[in-house]
């Protein structure tokens, strides 16, 4: 899916349906265009060496319960 063969239209149709979002024709074109743009950015990230071994940014730090 992350290669040059990524088919945004097919993905949008399948993923929107699986997510319970009904697309009409007017929406579909805009959603595909937006997902293609997101894909272009996401693909850039995969070109950064060593990313797979990197810890994601957010780290969950549970706080001690307040004494009140």
């Amino acid at each position: 899916m992350r290669g040059k063969t990524f088919d945004a239209a097919a993905y949008v149709d399948a993923a929107a349906a699986a997510s319970g979002i009904a697309l009409d024709e007017a929406m579909r074109a805009g959603v595909i265009a937006n997902l293609e743009r997101t894909y272009a950015f996401a693909r850039l990230l995969t070109e950064e060496a060593g990313l797979a071994e990197t810890e994601p940014a957010p780290v969950f730090r549970p706080r001690a319960p307040s004494s009140s």
Partner: protein, 443 residues
């Protein structure tokens, strides 16, 4: 001038600049009652606070007791009225400031331009045919128009910094986790910040100091004591090591943005240029994180009633709601690498400076803009210099620079996390050297 007079004047000025479409509500009754109470307290010998009688506006994503929080969208109309004021609004009022208006914004804060379908577009006071910048569009516009000296905004990818620069006022995105976001309608939980926009660096500092304070009800807030920046505001910049962010940030820039950066570098004695290698990928990460979290946040409404959103925002949100988890997690991993790289630069330098936008405010409705010979998509590119820095969570201020044509650009001043004091010292130094909101527009 007493609080009642200051608030009355602010309300009159807000009425006089309605053509800018910068406000969505003027809260005359509430504001006058608050001002009268402040004046009574003063007459009774009580300290009315460091911001006594300062009228301020708030982006309409902040909760106001008894009102439905709109966040610039028809999609919020069904919500119940807020049962208390947002933390930031209450904090400014505890310090003596008076909320007088709510301001226009990009729908759900998803934009850099101030364009809004339901409420109409916010306009730039320096040229109403141009964008104000967004998403804290009206907040920057009412300060730039001289209607109020202070406003609250939020910044997820540049939404305080872009409109502050394009309207020509001071803005501050504090460190991530510093100012409580409770009662601010969320957009992107892992990137949302609340901060002030002001006519002067002194008021920016005073309002930031008032906004500090712990709030266990914002889980993203760091439990950290207040560190006031007011006492060191005038300390100068002699001891600060300053560098210019080059590389990604060096182009494209129009002549005004380029000149402002050179001038700021000279004032702050920035002798070196450094590169943030991962800047372009940082922007990519910010984009992916933003669309994913925003889409997820609004997924229930997208499932039920997608047509309540404006077209631009709706299609972005749907695309975001179906982003594969691997794209999102790659973005959060890149974010850590970006932050480590910027932190290393900020260990060598106390401050880094960068342009706030590539150019002056484009005309409303433009799809593309041409900067230094490059044609760029306007709605995305106007935030290209703020976008990559936000995921790092460091504090960033904007100092405004008026252009010869009466428009404005801004310079970003970046410091290590929790070093808002250094940012404010630099903004004060820049202001003293000519980076100002024009005098005739100051209230």
């Amino acid at each position: 001038m007493n609080a009642v007079d200051r608030v009355s004047t602010a309300i009159s000025r807000l009425e006089a600049v309605r053509h800018l479409n910068a406000t969505t509500a003027i809260l005359s009754e509430r504001a006058m009652a608050r001002a009268e109470a402040l004046d009574r307290a003063r007459r009774a010998g009580r300290d009315p606070g460091p911001l006594a009688g300062v009228p301020f506006a708030a982006k309409n994503l902040f909760d106001i007791e008894g009102r439905v929080t709109r966040a610039g969208s028809a999609a919020t109309a069904h919500r119940a009225p807020a049962n208390e004021d947002a933390f930031a609004v209450a904090a400014l009022e505890r310090a003596g400031a008076v909320l007088v208006a709510l301001t226009n914004m990009d729908e759900l804060a998803y934009g850099f331009t101030g364009e809004n379908g339901p409420d109409g577009d916010a306009r730039n006071p320096r040229d109403p045919s141009r964008i104000s910048g967004g998403s804290s569009a009206g907040s920057a516009a009412v300060v730039a128009a001289g209607a109020v000296p202070l406003a609250l905004g939020s910044d997820t990818n540049g939404s305080i910094r872009v409109p502050s620069a394009l309207c020509g006022v001071f803005g501050l995105k504090p460190s991530y986790g510093r100012v409580s976001r409770r009662g601010a309608h969320p957009f992107v939980a892992s990137l949302d910040h609340v901060g002030p926009i002001a006519a002067t660096s002194a008021l920016l500092a005073a309002s930031y100091d008032a906004l500090q304070g712990t709030d266990p009800r914002d889980p993203a807030q760091e439990p950290r004591p207040a560190e006031p920046v007011g006492p060191t505001l005038g300390a100068g910049i002699q001891d600060l090591r300053v560098a210019v962010l080059g590389g990604y940030f060096a182009a494209p820039l129009d002549a005004d943005a380029s000149a402002a950066l050179r001038e700021a570098a000279s004032i702050l004695r920035a002798s070196e240029t450094v590169e943030l290698r991962l800047a372009a990928l940082g922007r990519a990460a910010a984009f992916v994180i933003t669309t994913s979290e925003a889409g997820h946040l609004h997924r229930p409404t997208l499932q039920r009633t997608p047509h309540v959103f404006g077209t631009l925002v709706r299609d972005r949100l749907i695309a975001g709601a179906i982003v594969p988890a691997s794209w999102y997690l790659d973005a959060q991993k890149l974010r850590r690498r970006l932050t480590e790289e910027l932190d290393a630069l900020l260990a060598r330098y106390d401050l880094l400076i960068a342009p706030a936008t590539p150019c002056v405010a484009p005309k409303l409705g433009e799809q593309t803009m041409t900067v230094a010979g490059q044609e760029l998509p306007m709605r995305l590119a106007i935030g290209m210099h703020t976008h990559p820095l936000t995921p790092t969570g460091v504090p960033i201020g904007v100092a405004p620079r008026a252009t010869a044509t009466g428009l404005a650009v801004g310079v970003q001043v970046v410091a290590a996390r929790w070093r808002e004091d250094r940012v404010l010292r630099a903004l004060a130094a820049l202001e003293a050297a000519g980076f100002t909101t024009p005098q005739e527009q100051r209230p």
